[in-house]
């Protein structure tokens, strides 16, 4: 895993991604319809400059990765992809469920997934701590600081005709 090869792949990915972003920005800019009066210094010049920069830097990094010596002094590193996936699952679950089942359960799930990703095996305890933390945040921010974290449409239907 820690060979020059995986480093090269990383460099190539970085260069490719930057290059692709540059091309995307350039294409989007070219598609922008602009009123003719603004033609000289309209909303397209800056995006084009940025796109050019991205393309040049991306090409430089890519060239270095494919043909040059790997200049960057860094060893390739091992990564635990399962943990990354778990944290991601937690985040996606939270964003999908948040407005439906509400802040507290959705966020407890996120906490649980994150704790598991960091190797915790005490799921019940983790869930309890997540629940307490999410509830504390809900109470503090909704009642103390006047923000509105969602109660959840599903929950609201379960308890109709409450005072507020």
């Amino acid at each position: 895993m820690t060979t020059g090869r995986s480093l090269r792949v990383g460099e190539a990915l970085l260069g490719g991604a930057v290059l692709a972003l540059g091309l995307f920005v350039a294409a989007q800019t070219a598609l922008l319809k602009v009123a003719p009066t603004h033609a000289a210094i309209g909303p397209r010049l800056f995006p084009f400059l940025i796109a050019t920069g991205l393309i040049v830097v991306g090409a430089l990094v890519l060239r270095e990765a494919l043909f040059g010596h790997v200049a960057h002094e860094q060893r390739g590193i091992e990564l635990d992809w399962l943990a990354v996936a778990l944290v991601s699952v937690g985040l996606v679950a939270q964003m999908l469920l948040l407005e439906w089942i509400g802040w507290i359960p959705a966020t407890t799930l996120l906490f649980l997934a994150a704790a598991r990703a960091f190797g915790s095996r005490r799921l019940a305890l983790d869930a309890l701590i997540g629940l307490v933390l999410a509830s504390l945040a809900f109470v503090t921010f909704n009642y103390g600081l006047g923000l509105s974290l969602p109660i959840g449409t599903a929950i609201e239907q379960l308890m109709p005709a409450e005072g507020e």
Binding site: G10, E11, L13, L14, V18, L21, V25, Q28, L32, V34, A40, G42, P43, F46, P47, A51, G53, L54, V57, G58, V61, E64, A71, H72, E73, Q74, I77, E78, L79, D80, V84, L86, V87, S88, G90, L91, V92, Q94, M95, L98, T107, L110, F111, A114, A115, R116, A117, F118, S120, D126, I129, G130, L133, A134, A137, L145, G146, L147, S148, L149
Partner: protein, 506 residues
């Protein structure tokens, strides 16, 4: 004299019990969150933004000033006891600070960092008090061309001077600039790069990007790495107090560190990394115990930590008087101002003197509060370091998503947060610096506006940037800042090619 009167008025605002309370609350939560591993000052400020949403601006910024200074103090505690510097400014502190902790002198390292930060912070705040009005007067001479040149200078320094790989810094900067393009074009009202998503018309929020890169990206990275790494925390033993010798070896580095930190931080191209390195090198040259450097020399904690804090105060000068952020933390502070519909700059001193001077006055107060808070309470902060990692990072995610969601009460921000987090993770893995992206995102749209304003005034003639003397001078400095390091590096490589050592061992 005018300045003193304004400052006096600021104190009368900051010293009301109500605002004093917010200041105390700010320094406390700032320190507490800043101490947590994985949370640097930039993220601390970003995560605590929602807390201030319902305050009126003056109190909010008094609290922010406290959070800002508190986060700097907290960050040094983490650097010393855990050897995980939360930002580039405390990398140097971590080297000898962590060695001291390993030798059981953690308490003294924390003490010299705290007292040094107090001394440096106070002197630098005095500096800020007098420099900011001067900068305001200077700023009145500036037109759009000069502002654009200044912004280029700031972007160049954040990108080129701080990182060790120019293409990587540029990639990060350009990514930030590209993100800044999203939304309605301010001059023509035209939507750009919104991909047809209505929530993107307002642009991508700097806070979401900062939290995504720093909190989500960092959490993903630590999650991916934590099986392969172990960390050691050293308990604080014995007396908190510094011996006579510790004092004797600390006070000069504090003052010299301040002398490096404030002026460099206050330059529109500043930042806190360079002064900390300069301070370290100077102390190493001047000390009677050079053999201790790298093995727990107290000077090597006292000097750089003072430099770091003085620079943190210095950075506020261009931020408040020119609206120019030169660090990731300052970029988020600027985003906070924009949330309140305020644009820092010369006009802010005119239109909102209460806010500006109240904030500056509260920096003096915050420093005193922090000294009181940090010396006796250090053991409490150390306990925060021992929070089990699964719960710590679970908690970071909870508050990161809370901050992103409450910005607009919109789940779309959570999607953006996650995507930016994945990108931040990739940047960490590929060793791409994050700060240029955040600064680029917030400065990009401002720079574009000034650029186009300058060109409309000159009726499309691009030579305005080179015929105005101030603008030309600033651009020349920017170019030199890029070229000189490249030139020096090349010469050094020619000079000692055979003796090339591995770059860093931090």
């Amino acid at each position: 004299m005018e300045t003193l009167a304004a400052l006096g008025h600021g104190f009368s605002v900051a010293l009301t019990p109500y605002n004093l309370l917010w200041s105390a609350l700010g320094v406390t939560v700032g320190t507490a969150v800043g101490v947590l591993p994985g949370i640097g000052p930039a993220l601390t400020v970003a995560l605590l933004l929602p807390v201030t949403y319902n305050l009126e601006p003056t109190s909010a910024f008094i609290m922010f000033a406290g959070i800002y200074y508190g986060a700097m103090y907290g960050g040094s505690t983490t650097a010393i006891l855990l050897n995980t510097p939360g930002e580039s400014g405390s990398i140097v502190t971590a080297i000898d600070g962590h060695e001291m902790a390993r030798q059981g002198r953690g308490a003294q390292a924390l003490a010299t960092a705290a007292i040094g930060s107090f001394v440096a912070g106070t002197i630098a705040t005095v500096g800020l008090t007098f420099v900011a009005p001067l900068l305001v007067r200077l700023a009145l001479l500036f037109g759009p061309a000069e502002y654009f040149a200044l912004m280029v200078l700031a972007l160049v320094t954040v990108t080129a001077v701080l990182g060790d790989s120019l293409p990587r810094g540029l990639a990060s900067l350009l990514f930030g600039l590209a993100l800044g393009l999203v939304g309605i074009d301010l001059q023509t009202g035209q939507a750009r790069f919104t991909l047809g998503i209505p929530e993107m018309l307002d642009g991508i929020d700097t806070v979401v990007v900062a939290v995504g890169l720093f909190a989500i990206g960092e959490t993903l990275y630590v999650a991916a790495r934590h099986r392969f790494e172990t960390e050691e925390i050293y308990a604080i033993k014995g007396s908190m107090w510094m011996s006579k010798e510790d004092w004797a070896r600390s006070w000069k580095p504090w003052l010299r560190g301040t002398a490096f930190g404030f002026p460099i931080g206050a330059l529109p191209a500043g930042g806190s990394e360079i002064p900390t390195f300069l301070s370290y090198l100077t102390e190493k040259k001047l000390t009677k115990h050079p053999e201790e450097f790298g093995h727990g020399a107290i000077e090597a904690v006292a000097g750089p930590e003072a430099a770091n804090n003085a620079a943190a105060a210095g950075v506020l000068a261009p931020l408040l008087s020119l609206g120019l952020p030169t660090s990731a933390t300052a970029a988020i502070m600027l985003a906070a101002f924009q949330q309140y519909g305020l644009q820092p700059g010369p006009l802010l001193f005119e239109s909102n003197p209460e806010l500006v001077w109240g904030m500056i006055a509260s920096l003096y107060i915050g420093n005193v509060l922090l000294l009181v808070l940090n010396l006796p309470m250090a053991p409490v902060w150390v306990k925060l370091l021992k929070i089990p990692r699964p719960w710590l990072y679970g908690g970071i995610l909870v508050f990161a998503t809370l901050g992103a969601y409450t910005l607009n009460n919109n789940a779309v921000d959570l999607v953006i947060l996650w995507i930016i987090g994945l990108i931040g993770f990739a940047m960490r893995v590929l060793d791409v610096p994050v700060a240029p992206c955040v600064v680029g995102l917030i400065l990009g749209p401002l720079a574009e506006q000034q650029f186009r304003r300058a060109l409309s005034i000159s009726q499309g003639d691009p030579s305005v940037f080179f015929t105005h003397p101030i603008s030309l001078a600033i651009l020349v400095v920017a170019v030199l800042l890029v070229l000189v390091p490249i030139f020096l590096r090349r010469r050094r490589r020619h000079a000692d090619l055979p003796a090339e050592t591995p770059a860093e061992s931090v």
